[in-house]
């Protein structure tokens, strides 16, 4: 292994790391002999798909294995301390003080019952680094450094009183509270919107540099990691694929797998002519909807043409999922009309007839919760066939097999249960279930956001092929602009329950942009190590 920065001091060395995970009664290898080294002040990016073992390696750098995992081989040396032989007490002294951890979901990691500052101060006081009052003062300074609003009083709020991006920064501040030598960031921005992600990335980058902290940055997003890391390790199935400095990795990848990762998000749908006179399949006029007194959808107007894809883009809280709930009849609108092929749809799904229900189908964000784990795949796909089309017995089995072929899965999957399938396969089953009803419109609610990039690109291609073959329309709800660019014919941009811009893809995504569209577009990380710095400079100068 080439030591790329030999001059600075070595902080962490993991040699031949082997970690096993337990499935039922047997142990299987999930990390197979990976070497990791890290110098002081260096940021290492660990990247790979889910199941690559990247989070497991990140945790191993703390001398910790998740429940159900065990470290079975390799050396683990942190600044002269052998982490494998260290006692729990020794590790306890290291954790929080010299090695800190930032989890993926800050919202789930903070204790909702305590003020942020008290959670911040816990670690330094416990470790005897500083007194409580001193820790509070440090906290205010760190909040300031991390650009949090009103740093004097920010810490005295409870976790639910601040936004997701702020919470993630507060967690970074917490990790910094003892000025550790090493911080492990485990997908810290994956759950955030692009615009919020920028703030968090900038904050992390700034603070790591300022305190010369070494960091391991775990993510599945190569564009994000290229902003943060000095050096990147690409992992797959618990093995190292490639290791190089960030710039070299982006510019001259050696392995095919890395090239595949780099070339994701380049898929583009062929533009199709949009005929203005054509009667829309779905037409929404002056739609207003409320959650209690809260006005979630304000005067929505849109038309979806047959056999096209309309993308609805917006950040969380923009009302895009609520729009789907209105169309499917889960949330009756206050005013306005929803017309399907010129006929008004009843407000609630209960009032709609079988035929109306059949023609609008839905695909969900989380395939894990969208499939009943107690039913076999054949039953899941077969139920709409029986329910809507009256198919039974052999006829139904035959159609299930056809549908499985259509979504490019083996026919014998009909006998399996969802738990035996991967995330991408499960999402394909959800697509097949929707297709089984022979719908005219499918509402796709963030269908790719729970999937790895390579997998989600496959799903997008599949959806496109199905549209070409079956002439089905999609209403594609997403926060991910790469997906929008890939698959949409028309785009609707939503902000705080209102449509701020809509039109054909080429119009919306070609300058001059609408202000908000511009903000969204410019916030999508690019595969360029200088992208974040340039963007921040540009925004500061404006």
């Amino acid at each position: 292994m080439i030591d790329l920065t030999p001059k600075s001091e070595r902080l962490l060395t993991m040699k031949g790391l082997c970690i096993q995970g337990r499935t039922g009664e047997t142990w299987i290898d999930i990390v197979k002999g990976v070497d990791v080294h890290l110098n002081r002040g260096e940021v290492l990016g660990l990247i790979g798909e889910s199941g690559a073992g990247k989070s497991t390696i990140g945790l191993a750098a703390m001398g910790f294995a998740r429940p159900g995992c065990r470290i079975v081989g390799g050396e683990l040396d942190f600044d002269g301390i052998n982490l494998r032989t260290a006692s729990p007490r020794q590790l306890q002294k290291l954790h929080g003080k010299r090695i800190a951890y930032v989890a993926q979901s800050a919202a789930a990691s903070f204790n909702p019952a305590f003020r942020l500052i008290n959670q911040f101060a816990e670690s330094p006081v416990q470790h005897g680094v500083s007194s409580y009052d001193q820790a509070v003062e440090d906290g205010k300074q760190l909040f300031q450094t991390l650009n949090l609003p009103d740093p004097e009083n920010f810490g005295f709020r409870y976790p639910h009183q601040v936004s997701g991006g702020q919470l993630q920064r507060a967690m970074t501040a917490m990790a910094m509270s003892c000025k550790p030598d090493l911080i492990i960031f485990d997908e810290p921005t994956t759950a955030l919107d692009v615009t919020t992600q920028i703030e968090v990335l900038a904050a992390i980058k700034h603070i790591v540099k300022r305190f010369n902290t070494a960091a391991i940055y775990v993510t599945h997003d190569l564009a994000v990691v290229s902003q943060m890391a000095d050096r990147i390790m690409v992992l797959r199935h618990g093995e190292l694929v490639e290791e190089n400095t960030t710039r070299d990795m982006i510019e001259t990848p050696n392995e095919q797998y890395t090239r595949d990762l780099l070339s994701t998000r380049t898929y583009r749908k062929e533009p199709i002519p949009l005929i203005e006179t054509e009667s829309p399949i779905l037409e929404i006029k002056n739609l207003n909807a409320y959650y209690g007194d809260f006005h979630v959808l304000k005067d929505i107007n849109l038309r979806v043409r047959p056999a096209t894809t309309m993308a609805v883009v917006g950040e969380s809280g923009s009302g895009k999922s609520t729009l789907a709930r209105c169309i499917t009849g889960l949330l009756p609108p206050e005013t306005g009309s929803i017309k399907f092929e010129g006929n008004a749809l009843p407000d609630t799904y209960k009032a709609r007839d079988k035929e109306q229900l059949r023609r609008i189908q839905m695909i969900y964000q989380m395939p894990d919760t969208a499939l009943n784990t107690r039913q076999k795949i054949g039953e899941i796909i077969g139920r709409p066939l029986t329910f809507y089309l009256g198919m039974r017995g052999e006829e139904r089995d035959k159609r299930v097999a056809e549908l499985l072929e259509l979504i490019e899965l083996p026919v014998d999957f009909a006998d399996r249960k969802p738990s035996e399938l991967s995330g991408g396969q499960k999402q394909r089953i959800c697509i097949a279930r929707a297709l089984a009803a022979n719908p005219d419109l499918i509402i796709c609610d963030e269908v790719t956001s729970a999937l790895d990039e390579l997998v989600s690109e496959e799903i997008l291609k599949l959806l496109q092929r199905l549209q070409d073959e079956l002439k089905v329309s999609y209403l594609f709800i997403t926060h991910d602009l790469a997906t929008v660019k890939a698959i949409s014919d028309e785009i609707v941009v939503m902000l705080q329950g209102q449509i701020v811009e809509q039109g054909p893809r080429e119009t919306v995504l070609t300058p001059p942009y609408h202000d908000y569209t511009d903000l969204l577009l410019s916030s999508v990380p690019e595969m360029d190590p200088d992208w974040l710095d340039n963007l921040l400079k540009k925004r500061a100068s404006n």
Partner: protein, 277 residues
């Protein structure tokens, strides 16, 4: 399926095996009572509260019937009534609980508040009241206890179903236009089976004890039918003379309760996925 069960049992902890052994023993006694019992159910064979002897293994009761015989017939009556009652109580409770969870809104509110009212009245006093009005025939006994006990089942099944109905697959089924019965039986029930089965074991014990206490109070199974609760009551006078007779049916109740609980614990342990690390 049976061979699977045997295989599981072989690998089960000793406590679970013991529990299964106890239950099987009781079941054999209950099913083959007339074959096993040395005397007839109500036959008087000797003096009051005779000592244990080769003639009557556990002695005789307060009017000279063989205690061992009474115990075996008691198993038959008590266990079968408890079993039927528990099944009925689960049927009512699960239907109600799932319906409340799936439909929600006013139906949920109405049913839940009604159940709250039912539960606020001590169950034993409530049962005594109703039984003294309606009489103490076996069908009435089963019906009353099942309805009263189903309030507890309702609470549990509503709670576990609530976790399931928020899942996207239930929403998908609703949007497909499925009716409430399909949602309850095909989407919710399979995903809540584990806690409900475990609860079944526990509630069976409670029902069983409840029938015994009702019998002890004289409003349960009526003489001369043998049943463990009333056997304890009828023989309770013997305690003052230092005779152990009432403790024998009491022990029978205790041992079955323990046996069922051992099996339930094992089942819970298996389905909850709690693994020793």
């Amino acid at each position: 399926m049976f061979s699977n069960f045997l295989k599981e049992l072989k690998n089960a902890p000793f406590a679970a095996q013991l529990g299964v052994f106890i239950i099987i023993l009781y079941l054999i006694a209950a099913i083959f009572a007339p074959l096993i019992a040395p005397y007839a159910e109500t036959e008087i064979i000797g003096d009051v509260w005779e000592e244990m002897s080769s003639k009557s293994w556990l002695g005789t009761d307060q009017i000279g019937r063989d205690l061992f015989t009474r115990l075996i017939y008691g198993a038959r009556n008590t266990i079968s009534i408890a079993f039927v009652t528990t099944i009925l109580s689960f049927f009512i409770g699960i239907c109600g609980g799932f319906m409340a969870a799936v439909i929600g809104g006013w139906i949920d509110q109405g049913m839940s508040r009604f159940v709250d009212i039912m539960m606020s009245i001590p169950i034993l006093i409530f049962a005594l009241m109703i039984l003294s009005v309606l009489g103490t025939s076996t069908p009435v006994l089963i019906g009353v206890i099942a309805v009263l006990d189903s309030t507890r089942v309702y609470r549990l099944s509503r709670a576990v179903a609530m976790d399931v109905v928020v899942m996207d697959f239930v929403e998908a089924a609703k949007l497909r236009g499925e009716n409430t019965w399909y949602l309850m039986s095909r989407e919710v029930l399979p995903n809540t089976l584990a806690p409900l089965v475990a609860e079944f074991g526990l509630r069976f014990c409670f029902v069983f004890l409840f029938i015994s206490s009702l019998s002890f109070l004289g409003l349960g199974i009526q003489p001369p039918t043998a049943d463990w609760g009333s056997m304890v009551r009828e023989n309770s006078g013997a305690i003052t003379f230092g005779i152990l007779t009432p403790l024998v049916p009491a022990a029978a109740i205790a041992i079955l309760t323990i046996g069922v609980n051992l099996v339930v614990d094992w089942f819970l342990h298996k389905t909850a996925g709690i693994k020793d690390s």
